[in-house]
Amino acid sequence: MTEPTRNSTALGLVGLYDDPDSLVQAAEQVRDAGFKHWDCHTPYPVHGLDDAMGLKPSPVPYVTITAGFIGLITALLLTGLLSAWHYPIRIGGKPLWSWQAFVPIYFELFVLFAALATMGSVIFFCRLGRWHSPLHDSGVMQAITCDRFAIVLESRDGAYSEPAARQLLEATGCQDIRPLVEHEEEDDGVI
């Protein structure tokens, strides 16, 4: 099933695991072996896997807070410039720049901008919007989004050689090692 029958390029190896414990232990071993272009694929977030992979904390919060403050400044300018300068109307004897009355708008635009930026950074950092994945061609995606756990070692890594990578995966106790391939035909009905 997973043998490259069509014109396909080998991109690395996929090791499949059946339980999260073996995955986390395997990830620690791959991390310590010094790989860079590798990843774990799981059906749901697995606790402790980030540490096992040696991942840095996500930068998403910085994007969110920056966008939030841009939203806040936008709201300050929007309400202040319009109410006090461009279109001043005296209402209820209040000062034109009655900032207290604009607080709800400051808050809402903070949240709105922060949320839009958070969504944008999910798409950017998770590299979404690339619909084609070699995992589909390798026939393992269905298992990954259901109940199995995968480690992918990519051949573009400097430390990669197929026998060594296979040996590393076997040493982690992996029972199911498959080639990572990419078919050349794009129109094979797989997204």
Binding site: Y44, P45, H47, V60, L112, A115, I144
Partner: protein, 459 residues
Amino acid sequence: MSETRSVLSPASLFTTAVSARSIDDDVYRPAESFPTGRWWAAITVTSFMALIFAVSVGYTVVVGIGTWGNNVPVGWGWAIVNFVFWIGIGHAGTLISAILFLLRQRWRTGIARFAEAMTIFAVICALQFPLIHTGRPWLAMFWLIPYPNGQGIYQNFRSPLEWDVFAVSTYGLVSLLFWFTGLIPDLASARDRAKHGFRKFAYGLLSLGWNGSNRGWTHYEKAYLLFAGLSTPLVLSVHSIVSFDFAVAVMPGWHTTIFPPYFVAGAIFSGFAMVATLIIIMRKMFRLQHLITDNHLELMNKIIIVTSMMVGYAYAMEFFIAWYSGVAYERFVFLNRAMGPYAWAYWIMVFCNVVAPQLLWFKKIRRSVLLMYPVVLLVNVGMWFERFVIVVTSLHRDYLPSSWDYFKPTWVDAGLLIGSFGLFLTLMLLFCRFLPTIATAELKAVAPGAQPSHGGSHD
């Protein structure tokens, strides 16, 4: 870690043994099989109700809002009642998805997706009412949103109605983003399970190419947490700002400082009642009782009784403050509420919202679908009447007895209310049919044995 069978232990979230595969099979089954006769019957009825909505809106637009029951003292009638009612319904979704997430309540995973969908559809229904109440909804963009325009005139940002524009539109949009973010991994599961070409294409397109990469999950989880953190103050702000529509007005019965927390508690109360009302039907229709268990219903019923006590307290406190303020108008409004021409509405409200939920003190009733169902239905009714009481009884006898009048709704009002239920239920049925009603990626993560047994003692 001692594995007690508390509500926080993974085992108590399910009534049968589950595996990641069985969760997927059960949740995606409705989307992968031809709809049942019951589903067709239900959507036939609800789309007919939605048609009534379309007819009522059309009639309102063509003839004008004079077709409604609004009269001179009661300038705000059912339209604002329905608006506040629907916005309130949405609040349970955000509470479950955001606040219970921050509080690490794992039982939320079974019901969060469904409740969030409800939030979005409820906000859609709510938005219809202020738009058609403008009379000319095609001009509402110009009236509501500050954008550079040829006339050079702008909104009054000191008006609670303008705050509402920002609050409700932000709330709707952020809820949608939060919901969609949660859906991405599940849409990928749906894509990979799909056998039919078009289904694979549609779910694949919506999943944005999610591949379960852990380098992705680390950002995704952080973003999800941030969404929850942003949504938590947002949900509290939205109904507070809706309550400012009333509280900022110098109107006896409205001008009270208790309104923001009172409205928020009421919104959560009505929202949970609506979640319970619909999820009981949904889990039966799609055979998901082992994933949305009686434990979930019991916990929801506990929240319902807590918030029922909060609104009950607010009703009592409003009366006390009216007396304590010494303002004759304020005292009159409250006596008139309980004993005037609309006393029937007031006592329906008190019975449904304060008296009936007391049954939920009994564990047997909290855990029995048959016994709790009438209670949650009554809460839905009662919370609609709460908004009716606040709007209509405060307005119908204002400062001048010469302008007093009795508000009577017309068939157009009734058509809009029934029709908005049709719109809401039709959207819910379509959601249940085409999208995973339970967040499978989240549920798998809290299933027994889903997390590594060593180390990791997060939540």
